[in-house]
């Protein structure tokens, strides 16, 4: 049995080397000035800029802003998506009323509602949170519709035999049954939340990582841009990782 972890560690080492090789290639490309260094800093300059942000503490306030907006929008979307999804799945009336509109709105790019949202809500946190929620709601909604909808027929019969009200049935049978689908939707949504948050910050000049990077681009401070890309990459990776772990843990009973 000991061979298996050894083998895995070996593969991890190899993929680490591969990653390191990519960084070296980046460094070489930058040093060889294949691309104008004004636009394309090497990893050394990018990471030292990132370290400068961390050590001076100037990273935390914009990062906190971005994370706050992202999660506020995401949670709002989860609440709305699960509620609407449960309604659409449980009632034929709600389905006929809501589903066509949802189908039409779903392919709409979330960023496309930024301009009207700015007109209506102004340059504000509330505007960004709303747009993020709009972008995030669809995967959760689809997951909820699917999850609440495909309750095992026998469970439906059990709930009828027990004389449960439709609320009780939704809470005790449909919700647990729907959780895996809902979580899957929520995990897709959190990546969307990050993208929409950053795009909104860039457009509406609200302090955050996205705005920081756009200002850097206008001033040709390319090391700042790469440091920002790294920060957002790490943020994307972490949120993905955490939601995945959380999902595994919460669904362990399955």
């Amino acid at each position: 049995m000991a061979a298996l972890p050894m083998k895995r560690a070996g593969w991890f080492l190899i993929s680490l080397l591969c990653f390191a090789a990519m960084l070296v290639a980046w460094k070489l490309a930058a040093d060889a000035k294949l691309i104008n260094p004004l636009w394309f800093p090497g990893p050394d300059r990018s990471f030292s800029k990132l370290w400068e942000w961390i050590s001076s503490g100037s990273l935390w306030s914009p990062l906190a802003q971005t994370v706050w907006r992202m999660f506020a929008g995401w949670l709002l979307a989860c609440g709305v998506g699960i509620t609407l999804g449960a309604a659409i799945a449980s009632s034929a009336f709600a389905r006929r009323l809501l589903q066509p509109s949802a189908e039409f709105l779903r392919p709409l790019p979330a960023s496309a509602i930024l301009p009207p949202a700015i007109l209506v809500l102004g340059f504000s946190d509330a505007m960004i949170v709303f747009v993020v929620a709009f972008g995030c709601v669809w995967p959760v909604l689809l997951g909820a519709i699917h999850g609440f909808g495909n309750l095992d027929q026998r469970l439906g019969e059990v709930s009828r035999l027990l004389n449960l009200s439709s609320w009780q049935r939704a809470w005790k049978f449909q919700l647990p049954n729907a959780l895996p689908d809902v979580f899957a939707g929520m995990r897709v949504s959190i990546s969307i939340a990050l993208i929409v948050t950053v795009a909104s910050e860039m457009l509406s000049s609200q302090p955050g990582i996205g705005y920081l990077m756009l200002v850097a681009a206008r001033a040709f401070r390319s090391a700042d841009i790469f440091a920002g890309i790294i920060v957002l990459g790490v943020l994307g990776f972490l949120t993905n990782y955490v939601t995945q772990k959380l999902e595994d843990r919460l669904l362990r009973w399955r």
Binding site: S15, F19, P100, S101, E103, F104, A112, V198, G210, G233
Partner: protein, 241 residues
């Protein structure tokens, strides 16, 4: 029945706007944006902007498809390579595409390529991952047959692996086509002065609320149409299965 909700919302919108409950500057009113939309359609600006957006999205999809299928086929056929590349993929994939807007702006300036580069990055990942798993799912005996026939490696890929993996890859391309349009419009809204996204930003900045809403609805119709036609196409192409 499905039309009830939109009709009620639009009617309420019109009424509340006329009663000045909803501010004109932000909400405009449905009757106005029908007029604004018709005007933009008639003078050709809306169609020109749509063409710009489509050109950038198509370019992005092509780049992503070529790169994603090529790299995905190689990684899918050689498991050790995929394992070696795993960490690099895991590190690069979570980078939100919009984070590349400032970089792309520096590299390409305000141009079609700027939008296309950012959107291509976003489209690359689904195509790559789908291709890897589709190629992996190809029956090993097919590859074996190719070897027995003495085909070169490239010929095995083109003649056996890719056709067998095609249905999976097409799903990835369909998903990516939607992403391409979304990301292209996003780059246009944020910075790039071209296409439908910029049309909306411009209209918002000059406080033409009616034009903003009209363009938004146009984008909605376009997005829905693209989705619908891709689903149809996929169904038709894959009928042989």
């Amino acid at each position: 029945m499905g039309a009830v909700l939109p009709v009620v919302v639009l009617a309420l919108w019109e009424m509340l706007s006329r009663a000045e409950v909803l501010s004109e500057d932000g909400f405009s009113r449905p009757s106005r944006f029908v007029v604004a939309g018709a005007k933009a359609l008639a003078d050709g600006t809306l169609l020109e902007q749509t063409a710009q957006t489509f050109a950038a999205a198509t370019e992005a999809l092509l780049i992503a498809a070529v790169a994603g299928i090529a790299i995905g086929a190689i990684l899918g056929l050689f498991k050790p390579l995929e394992r070696a590349a795993q960490l690099t993929i895991d590190a690069l994939r979570p980078i939100p595409s919009v984070a590349l807007i400032p970089l792309s702006l520096l590299l390409f300036g305000f141009s079609r390529n700027m939008s296309a580069a950012v959107a291509a990055f976003a489209c690359f990942w689904p195509i790559l991952l789908v291709t890897i798993s589709a190629v992996r799912g190809v029956d090993g005996r097919l590859i074996e047959v190719g070897r027995l026939l003495g085909f070169s490696f490239a010929r095995i890929i083109v003649k056996f692996a890719l056709p067998a993996a095609l249905p999976g890859i097409l799903v990835g391309i369909r998903v990516s086509a939607g992403i391409a349009i979304v990301v292209t419009v996003t780059t246009e809204i944020v910075t790039n002065p071209r296409g439908l996204g910029f049309a909306m930003t411009m209209a918002a900045q000059s406080l033409q609320a009616d034009l903003v809403w009209a363009t938004l609805m146009w984008v909605g119709v376009i997005g829905w149409l693209v989705n619908w036609s891709l689903e149809r196409l996929e169904r038709r192409w894959l009928r042989y299965r």
